[in-house]
Structure formats: structure tokens, C-alpha cells
Symmetry: C2
Subunit: 627 residues, 2 copies
């Protein structure tokens, strides 16, 4: 995905001739302009100065029609080049009944015109303290207009709570029932919020345009306009993750001595060209950002060849497995010993772990006997080819399900790669329960343990994707997602850990009660927020200090095999500053399936319970993993 | 509906022989018994005292089966006579993993058995502090068991917040997503909550049984067990509105000197026989309590004959209309004057208001000229019959829609009955706007004004009825409902008023902008609660001090023509003690229809916004009234 943003010029004083304004913007290398739909004269319809007779005013209210002189964007000719501004005198929450009524009529009239001339986008004026009727009107009108509708929001306001802009936007968004047709045109202000959280949380919002007025710039030593480091970082982050339209202004009277009309725009281009290079994982994930994938069920379904192929390309995972087997061999067997270590790879797929083990044996100069077990008949053909062409006698193949196979001999090391994004969600615990009977007393399982963790997440984009299915089922289903336009409201907390081999499994009768889990995690959220779901991760000990992890704090650099998992909540959860969010999570099982249930409770800072969600996915009704 | 409750006997100590216990209950005139499903010996499955071997315990967990000796209700023979108690040692939220797991298995086993032997109802033990896993298990199991499932809740607990029982129940109910299969068995305690609100709020909950243990009774002077006045009132209210099963106990060692084993039961029968007599409105509404009716649209649809007939029977409404016309005639015209007052009845229906006017004229000895206008062709036939058979020359008939008819002469008094439960919701404002052109300058409209008011309402029963439609549309539709199992969280507040005649209507062009309304009402709720919607009322001035009202504080005694209106909210709203609930309400209109939109905001006692609902029914998408 290109990360290059379009940069437009915002009209800051009256524009009388739109074609000349566009020409000016063009010659100063702006990509588009942002200009009012109507001229100031249109304000007359409010009739606050009584220039209209009562009859004229009533006639307009009844049959609103433009006088062509009132329109600045008076022809479709410009529409590809212009974002339209709604009139700033429109006040849908005015205390005056008449201003409210006339504002609503005028707004609809402008919205209709914007649709008629084919504008692609529009911006509604900055929200005031009252947003109820504004929300009502925008909610309705947005559903019938074609151009995109953004609401202008100030990042900070003087002498107000520092998140006042977000709070007004949030109230509007909640009142509109998360109307996906309404976005944000975020105006960067000279003063930034004190905490990074209050900046980063905008990643979770539908920011379609970033307005950076000239007065936010400071002159550098040579008098050129530049931005503070924090401003730069914020704008670059937004460019990188959200690719908004960037909107600048050119001051009428110079405020930066060396500035030309193109300086502001060029500075933005400069920032846009110098975004951080994507890392390996980001490169791999390109095209998958915020995209909902149904988690694999490799136990119930047989993976396809290209799935194996993709994951075998991971540069880190198999390196770590090799290191783990290597360490285990070194520690178990003396140098130059004749002892042969039996290694079983259970779920060998097309053989990458077999190769890891062979390399580890070679490097460690330890003798091994290698058995590769696979239940997917198609992958098993590849294994046979590998044996015939590469491995020869070094590897014995077994075609069987590890849960039911009864081997003649037991092994010293059991190697598997059965983890999902949530650790146990591809049924590694159940599979290894079955496989550990192959393992000698005192033998080693690689992995030896894995821990599941969660964090509360905000992401309007991901929430909208789930909501688009328009079915409760989808709000009770986890998705594998590479987060981009998302924001963690707190750092992840652990839920539970599985250890292998597990000495506490009752051997007869075999059931799965010991793999149930029931836990909770608590988070303090230190600012107002809306939560859309839970991000899930795993952190796995392969062998002693050799680990693989997708937990944000310990993520194995460059390992791309797992994106995080996302558990939605059916209703976005409102969280006030310093609330405690408690997430209960269950891993449940019956004889045919494993599933998760989850619920969210919010307590305010005085520990008053202000929200209790339903338990999601009761009985696995919407989502389960087949045994 | 009969208000007679069944009264059962609760086992308070170990029952070894269920048939003897039932016989005892029978001879002491109880209707049924409440007894444990299993015997105390079944507790052995927790294996806390290690009476089972590890193997036996694991075998039970894997294949749970009863030993027939463990069952008290060991045959279907008793099922019609027994409510089953789940074992009180079942602890689904125990801190011990093993107790939790075994409790879940044992609970399912008892639930399965209860279904198998065909019990009609069961009671789950009193909720503890932790309810998360209890909620999860009850939520799932309740969906597969046939007997009704109630959770035992204590009205108060010593040294705890006085609404602790409700709070635990509420948390459970929220976690189960308002599972309609789980009810409450409310145990009345010796100590009652301090405020009536904390008692009355139980009307909004699914209380299926009321447990009144013997120790709650006090001895009267003769040593008989009686209840305090507040206890009596609460129990009678619950009997009257909810008809729960009543459950009493008989103490092993007498605690009331003169009590026999039948005393407690007989006292309950005595309370049940002495419920307050239903008033006229309640008698009329019998069979309609908490039943959702779609509001009439008499403007768009023609009412049917039986609808007219029903409403004409109202003993109060027409009396008030007659009084209003009488007052107006007395005040407008001198005694013995020859002045003829022209009265137009607009929307005459089958003629009841015509009769009111004729009676008023007769009583006041004033001369009138009466014109009756009706647009329903079927009702107009009845009017013609009335004219031919009764009224003769006293009344002129006109077949026309009052919004478009152009009369030759104007009238002095315009009489109409166009109100709905929410005042203006049957389009009285729009109709009278059209009709007021018939009215002379200085003429009188009866009614002269009407005011709409709302109050936040809790009612699980009504909420469940709306939710049963399983469609957002129904949560955005108002219903006419006679409330019974419902509770107002605060007294109603006014939203807006319409006045007639309205001097501020622009005459040309005619549109409906002046009939838009945009208002809000605020309520302080002084205890924790859940809100399911809004109750709506009207209060109408017919003429000066002659009024009709369904506002709870001014309800016209005996007037049954209007039940309140109910506006649902899509998500039940959690309200903490001393929260401020702000309800925004809009009456909106376009050229074809009128509709309402509404939203709810909750602020905690520190004015922090903790909940913002979506605006319901945007653009009238789910519900509107046709013009």
C-alpha cells in the first residue's frame, strides 16, 4: 500500500472565485483545495438581520432553493479538485428554535448540492458543546448523501479538558450508533495533549483528513516553517497508519519570514517521504492490515499446500525451534556420547521441523533417531518425497493422528508446532495430551509452555468490519488480525499457561476437563476511551530461555507466522478516565469441541460497577474449534 | 386474571422421605412443596473429604451418573407437587478449580434429572459475591432444561449494602444477556430496605416466587405469627401485580407460641384474599397488563366500529368534555341572551362529542348551532342515522377532512378529541392547524393545550416482549401499554406543549415546521437500577380548569381511554445511584409523516458521562405516523 498522502489547501478567508483559488493551489503544488460550498451571503437564510421579509423567509423554509449567487462551488466542473466545507454558521444545536430549524434546512440544502455536483468529500464545522441535534441531523443526512462526510475536530482547545475534542466526537459517534458514513477531519493544534495516549488513541478513530494550519508551524533559524518533533511524530504516525488527506493553510500575512505559499505543503511532503521503513513483519503483512481472518482449524481441517508454504518462510520461528532442539540435545547428552536421542516431530506438516531437528543434531554433534508424525494425507505425500529425495534413513515417517497413535517406542524429545495466535486456540493442549504418551519419563516437550494474554483494544475500523456482517454471531467470533488503525487501551495481561508434558492429566478415563481454563485480567485505563474488543497474544517457551512470542512486549523480531487475535465485544464499551476494566475469559470444552466465552465489566474510579457486558459466545453457540 | 397465588412449603431441614413430606404439606393445606433434588450424600462428588478414590472421582467427572440413593426426588410421581432445590453446596464461582468443575458437573446432573422427571420449577441457591461463572453456567444450562429456573435472592443481607441482593441478581442478569429463562425466587427478610423504591423496583424484575420464612413473622398479642405492615404491603403488592408462587416454612422448634404448622400458610392466604380492589381503569385493562399494542393511526386509517364503541364507554372523558363546553358557553354568552354559539365538532366519529355539546347547551340554557365534521365514511353513516333518528335539525353534518375543508361560516368553539397516549402522537396538532381556519378570531379550541411528559421505566417483562420480536425495528417503535410489572425510576418530566388555536402558524406556504419539537428531560435516579425504556403520558387542558390527564400525578380518576405509551431503548441502560439520566426527544416531520427520535445519556454523580445511547429511530426508519 502506498503511504503517500494527498495534500490540499484550505481556504482561510473568503474565496470569491473558486477557479482562481484552484489555480493558485495548483501553482503552489497542492493536490486539491478545501473551500466552502456556499458564499457568506447564504447566511441570509437564517434571517437574523431581517433582510428577508417574513414571507420570503417562510417561502425558503418551505421550498429551499439556492440563488446561484450564493454558491461558491457553482458547477460540477471543480468537484474532483475540491473538498467542500459546510457553512460555519450552521448551528444545529443552537438554543434558538429558529436558528436550529433554518440551520437544518440549510445544511440539507448544502449536502444535496454537494451530492448533485459530485463532490467526493465534505467537512462539517467544529463541534460545539452541545451535539445532540447535530448528531441527529448528521446521522440522517449522511445516509442519503454521496460525498464523504467528515466532522472537524480540534485536537485540543484552550482552557478546556485536553481531550475535549475527542469527547465531543465520541458523543456524536455514540449518538449516531457508530454511523460508518461519518469520519473525522482532525485539526492539529499548536498545543498537543500532554500524554502520548491521547495522541495515539486517534489511531482507533476514522480520521480521514488531518488539518495542519500554518500557525501550528514555528520558524526555524532560517525563518522557514517547521513543526515540533512531537507534531512531526504524530503526523507521521497518522500518515503511516491511516493515510489521511493532509490539509494545510497559507497565511494571508506571512507568519514565517522565509515561507513561500508552497512551504507548508512541501514540509508535509517531506514528512510523508520520510516515514519509517516497514519492518519484516509489516512487509509480510502488507495488504492484511486490519483485515479479519477466520482462525485456522488445522486439527479439523487439513491445511493447504500454500498455507504450509507461507508459514515455512518465517525466518525466525524455525531458527528458534532449531536453537531449542540444539540446546536440549546439548544438555541431555554428553559430547561424544553414543547415546541416541529419539525425537518425534508430531504434526510434521511438510517437514520444516524435521529439518530443524536434523540441523540441530548436526550442529550439536549428537546422534538422533527422528520420527515424523503427520495426519494430513496430502502433507504426508510431501514428507514421503522428502524422505525419498533428502532424508533417507535419518527419518522414519508415521501417518497417524497423535491423539490416537500407539507407538512401539517412546521418545526423549517431542517437538510440535501447534500454536495459534491465542496460544491454545488450535488445540495444542489437546493434541499434546495425546502425544505425551510417546514421551519417556523425564522427556522434553518443545514447546514446554505457552501463555495467553489479552489487552483491551479500540479500533473503529475493525469494529466496522465486524459490524458489517450484521449478525451477533460475528461479534462472538475471534478473528486473526494484523492491527494497524487500532490502539491498545492498556498493556496486555496474562490469562493462563499450558505446560507440557502435563503430569496432572488423569489417564483413565480420558476427558478434557483439565484443559478448561477460567481466568480474568484487570486493566486500569487512564483516559476516556471506547473499547471495541480484546487483542489476544501468546508467549511461548520452546525450551528454557528459547522462546517465541507475539506478545507486544516480547515479540520475536521478524517472526511473521502469527498475527494477533481479536475478540470483539458486541457493544462498544464506554470507559471513563481511571476506570478498571475486568475481562473474564473461559476456555471450555465438551467431547466434540473447544470454545471461549468472555465478558467485560467496567468499574469507575470509585469501584462502582458502571457496565457489565453479556457473556459472549455462551456454549460456543457462535464459534468453536472442533476436536 | 385471578390474583390467587399458590402457596408452598419449603423444606428447611433434611427430608428423608419425600412422600411423607408432601403428605405433611398436604394435611397442613399447602399447595406444593419445595425440596432438594438430591440428598446431602450427593455432596460426596466434590470429594472434599476424600471418600472417593481418585479413580472413582475421575470416573464420575467423566461419566456423571447418580446413585439412586443420592436422589430425594427419585421418581416422576411427585413432579407436579414439587419445586426442586439445587444443592446448596454447588459453588460455581469457588476459588478452587476442582470445586468449580465438580459443581458445574453436579449442577448439570441435577438440572438434567429435573428435566427428566418433569419438574415444573427449580431454585438455584443464593448468589454469592462472585457470579461470573455462575452466570456462564446458568446461561448455558437454562437453555436446555425444561423446568423453570429461578435464582434465590435475599431482599437484604446483614451488614451489606441494602440492595446487595438486587445488585448480584442484576450482574447475573446482565452477564446472561437478559436470558429470559432465568427468574428470581425472592426471599423476604426480616429487615427491609429503608426506601420504598428499593422494594418497588422488584416489580420490574422476573420474580416468580416469593419466599417468606417463618422467622420473618412476629408474634401478635395472642402469639400468632403476623407480618409487619411494610412486609404485608410489599407481599400484597407482589401478589397483586406479579402473582408469584408464595413459599413459606414451618419452624421445627416453635418460634411463635400460638402457631400451628398451617399458620404461616393461612396468613398468606389471608393476605392474598385481601388484595386491594382493582379500580375502574384496572378493571377495564384486565387482560391488557404489560401487553404491547401498536398505537392507533386514526388519521391514516379509519377506526373500526368496535374501537369507537369501546372508547365511547369511558365514563370520565365525555363528562369532562361536556363540562368544558358548558363552562365555555357560560362564560361566552350571557344568561338569556339570544346569541347563537356555533360549535364545530371536528372528527365527530360516531357522535359522542356531539352529544356532549348538546347536553352542555341544554344544561347551560345557551343556544348553539352545531356542525359535526367527519372524514371516516363508515362513521359518517352512523352520524347520518343519529341525525335522522335523534338530532334532527340541531346538528349539521359535513363529510370532509378537517385539514382541507373550507367552510362557509366560522365557528366560536372548535371541539376535537384527537389525542393519543403521548398527546400529539395521533397528529392532533396537524389536524387542528387545518381546522383552526374554521375558528373565528377569539374563538375557543377545546382542547386548548396538551403537554407531553416522560419518565424512565424499568420492566423486564415489557423489555422481554419487545426483545422477543428479535428486530431492531421493534426497539425503535413506541407501544401503548398498561403497565403492571414495571417501575418508574423517577417521576415524569414535561417535554413540550401544543396550544390551540396556534397564532404562530405561517399561513402561506403551509408546512409543518412549527410542529417540530426538540426537547429533553432530566431525571435523578437515587438508587442503582436498569432502565428499559420511557413511559410517556399526556396532560390536557380542555378549557381553563377542566382537564383530562393520564400523567400519574394528575390522572383523571376512572378515565380508561388511554393507557401510557412506552418507548423502548435498544440496550438496557445501567444506572448507578444518584446518576443523572438525560433523555433527548424530538418530534420531527416531513411532508408525509411525523415521527419521534430519542436518546439517553447517563452521567454519574460527578457529572462524568458514563453512557450515551444511539439516537433511536433516525429519520423515522422504524416507526412513523402518516400524515
Amino acid at each position: 500500500m502506498s503511504r503517500s498522502c494527498n495534500i490540499g489547501l484550505l481556504a482561510t478567508e473568503e474565496v470569491t472565485d473558486i477557479s482562481r483559488f484552484i489555480e493558485f493551489a495548483d501553482t503552489t503544488t497542492h493536490d486539491f483545495v478545501v473551500a466552502p460550498i456556499t458564499k457568506p451571503s447564504f447566511r441570509r437564510v437564517l434571517n437574523q438581520d431581517r433582510t428577508l421579509s417574513q414571507e420570503e423567509h417562510e417561502a425558503w423554509k418551505d421550498q429551499p432553493v439556492f440563488d446561484r449567487q450564493d454558491l461558491l462551488l457553482n458547477s460540477p466542473e471543480w468537484s474532483g479538485k475540491v473538498l467542500g466545507l459546510f457553512s460555519d454558521w450552521i448551528d444545529l444545536d443552537s438554543p434558538s428554535d429558529d436558528i436550529r430549524t433554518c440551520s437544518e434546512i440549510a445544511f440539507k440544502q448544502e449536502a444535496d448540492w454537494a451530492t448533485h455536483i459530485g463532490l467526493t468529500g465534505t467537512i462539517f464545522p467544529t463541534l460545539g458543546e452541545q451535539v445532540h441535534s447535530t448528531a441527529r441531523v448528521l446521522n440522517t443526512v449522511s445516509r442519503t448523501m454521496t460525498p464523504q462526510l467528515c466532522v472537524r475536530v480540534l485536537l485540543t482547545e484552550k482552557n478546556k479538558e485536553e481531550n475535549v475534542g475527542w469527547k465531543r466526537w465520541n458523543r456524536l459517534r455514540l449518538l449516531t450508533g457508530h454511523n460508518t458514513r461519518i469520519g473525522v477531519a482532525l485539526e492539529v493544534t499548536a498545543e498537543l495533549p500532554s500524554s502520548e495516549a491521547l495522541l495515539n488513541m486517534w489511531l482507533a478513530e476514522p480520521v480521514r483528513a488531518l488539518i495542519v494550519p500554518a500557525h501550528v508551524f514555528v520558524p526555524n533559524q532560517k525563518g522557514f516553517p517547521v513543526l515540533s518533533k512531537r507534531h512531526q511524530n504524530f503526523i507521521k504516525m497518522m500518515m503511516d497508519k491511516m493515510r489521511p488527506d493532509i490539509i494545510v493553510t497559507v497565511p494571508k500575512d506571512p507568519i514565517h519570514p522565509a515561507a513561500s505559499p508552497a512551504s507548508y505543503n512541501q514540509y508535509m511532503h517531506y514528512l510523508n517521504r520520510n516515514l519509517p521503513e516497514p519492518n519484516e513483519v509489516e512487509k509480510f503483512a502488507s495488504g492484511y492490515f486490519d483485515y479479519l481472518q477466520i482462525p485456522l482449524q488445522p486439527l479439523a481441517d487439513n491445511l493447504e499446500n500454500h498455507t504450509y508454504e507461507t508459514f515455512e518462510r518465517d525466518p525466525i520461528k524455525y531458527q528458534q525451534y532449531e536453537r531449542a532442539v540444539y540446546q536440549a540435545l546439548l544438555e541431555r547428552v554428553e559430547y561424544q556420547s553414543d547415546v541416541v536421542t529419539t525425537i518425534m516431530v508430531v504434526g510434521a506438516g511438510r517437514g520444516p521441523l524435521v529439518n530443524c531437528c536434523l540441523r540441530a543434531a548436526e550442529k550439536s554433534l549428537r546422534k538422533i533417531h527422528l520420527i515424523a508424525l503427520e495426519k494430513n494425507p496430502n502433507a504426508y505425500v510431501t514428507l514421503q518425497n522428502m524422505k525419498a529425495q533428502v532424508w533417507g534413513d535419518k527419518v522414519d515417517l508415521v501417518f497417524a493422528d497423535m491423539r490416537t497413535w500407539n507407538p512401539e517406542t517412546k521418545c526423549d524429545i517431542l517437538v510440535s508446532e501447534l500454536l495459534g495466535s491465542f496460544g491454545d486456540n488450535e488445540l495444542s493442549p489437546e493434541c499434546l495430551d495425546g502425544a505425551q504418551k510417546f514421551l519417556k519419563e523425564g522427556g522434553i516437550s518443545i514447546p514446554s509452555s505457552y501463555t495467553t494474554s489479552i489487552a483491551p483494544l479500540a479500533s473503529t475500523r475493525i469494529r466496522n468490519s465486524v459490524a458489517a456482517y450484521n449478525d451477533l454471531k460475528n461479534f462472538e467470533t475471534p478473528y486473526v488480525v494484523m492491527f494497524q488503525q487500532a490502539y491498545r487501551l492498556a498493556e496486555p495481561e496474562d490469562l493462563w499457561t499450558f505446560y507440557h508434558p502435563n503430569k496432572n492429566i488423569p489417564t483413565v478415563p480420558i476427558n478434557n476437563l483439565h484443559n478448561k481454563r477460567d481466568s480474568y485480567a484487570q486493566f486500569v485505563v487512564d483516559h476516556d476511551a471506547v473499547m471495541h474488543g480484546l487483542a489476544g497474544y501468546f508467549d511461548c517457551v520452546l525450551y528454557k530461555d528459547v522462546t517465541i512470542s507475539i506478545h507486544p512486549e516480547t515479540h520475536s523480531p521478524g517472526m511473521f507466522s502469527w498475527f494477533p487475535i481479536f475478540f470483539p465485544v458486541a457493544q462498544p464499551v464506554e470507559i471513563t478516565k481511571d476506570s478498571i476494566v475486568t475481562v473474564h475469559f473461559w476456555r471450555l470444552t465438551d467431547s466434540e469441541k473447544v470454545w471461549y466465552e468472555w465478558s467485560v465489566v467496567v468499574q469507575d474510579k470509585d469501584k462502582q460497577e458502571i457496565y457489565v457486558s453479556p457473556i459472549h459466545n455462551p456454549g460456543g453457540r457462535s464459534y468453536y474449534v472442533s476436536l
